[in-house]
Subunit: 205 residues, 2 copies
DNA sequence: CGGATTTGGAGACATGGCGTCAAATTCCGG
DNA sequence: CCGGAATTTGACGCCATGTCTCCAAATCCG
């Protein structure tokens, strides 16, 4: 890692990613051009293409780095779980905490004019989903989970995590614990078990 | 509506939308250019801009038409509901049936190379979400629903609908009833109430 | 250490999409 | 049938894109 060539290589790559993060945040993903990213570095246009094929690819690299940050945490949480409740609540808590912390990153996605939710098929993200699915299957095999449709369960978990997470961020103050409690209660006890806002749900019609 | 001017106007608009649908399906949203759409019509480039500002706007118009088709059905289902179960299951059934039927439309979205889920802020779609939220609030006020966080509940419903819907479409054969049952059970009874795949869930750990 | 070889950055260039605008055409009312 | 308004046309200037060649610097090797 000590060769000059190697050092400038990683430096350039980092420079491009940093510039991209900045310019994506400022202009939104849709509006930024490859040239905008290049201008935010001191590199030549041709150099960019030695590292990435398009702005899409830069974006994916950024996404990938993010996934690399959360994935192990989520995994650890699930492995540690000794019950359904721990599995579910741990996952939601970790995920919500993450997106609340790394808002800068999420701002990139939400500020995006053209897309609401972006590509979810970078290697890291796919690996994360696969992991989740495998852990669900394993939990079912071990009898921790009832024998349900693992794919649909995963889809439901992901859907709730993203949508509720999105709403959570738009509130002030951001209360990750409350959001996690809500989501967990939904999965654990279903609709009727959701925390009531004022008085306990005496009547369940 | 009988004037020639007026007729060509709607004809042109329709021509552009039809061309866009076709070309979006073929190339994907991200890859198509305004020029591609124009080329698929027999209009001049300038004419396009008399009708739409960008491909984004065309896409929104298409989305809007779709929402216009589902929204009343969903609404009717919710109004008809006399219990939580009817509210939830009716909504899921209707939504899943719709996306299963109108796959051509959903193909446009799913074939999209750049985005997974596209802008959801056309007037019709926003109105649809607002309606859903209002109906939830109303159901809570009437005591049909327990007093839960309406925003989070809506987010959860939407998240599950889209994610599970997506998975549903990737199966062969597409079983909308099963998907609706799954989602409904999740919301009604929570995790433990989900239909088991083989034997009844005798043990709820 | 110095010449040969490889690597990779620089930036000009051809291509093609973008949105505009003045001119041409079409429609409508008188 | 004519005048004026509305609408379409398509060429134009501008800019982003991705490629390609050239060259300097880094690495390798005797």
């Amino acid at each position: 890692m000590t060769g000059k060539r190697e050092r400038t290589k990683t430096a350039n790559r980092e420079a491009i990613l940093a510039a991209a993060r900045e310019v994506f945040t400022k202009l939104g993903y849709g509006a930024t051009t490859v040239r905008d990213i290049i201008r935010a570095t001191d590199l030549a246009s041709g150099t960019f293409y030695n590292y990435f094929k398009s702005k899409e690819e830069v974006f994916q690299a950024i996404q990938d780095e993010n996934a690399l940050r959360v994935r192990p945490r989520l995994r650890a949480e699930r492995i540690r779980a000794r019950s359904v409740e721990e599995f579910i609540s741990g996952s939601f808590r970790t995920f919500f905490d993450y997106i609340a912390t790394d808002r800068q990153t999420f701002a990139v996605i939400r500020r995006n004019a053209d897309t609401m939710r972006v590509r979810m098929d970078t290697p890291e993200i796919i690996a994360g989903f696969d992991e989740l699915r495998a852990d669900i299957v394993k939990a079912i095999a071990e009898g921790i989970f009832p024998l349900v449709d693992a794919d649909y369960l995963m889809a439901a978990l992901v859907g709730v995590a993203f949508e509720v997470g999105e709403h959570m961020l738009s509130r002030d103050p951001v209360d990750t614990a409350a959001a996690a409690n809500f989501a967990t209660a939904l999965f654990m006890g279903g609709f009727r078990a959701l925390p009531t806002l004022a008085r306990p749900a005496a009547s369940a019609a």
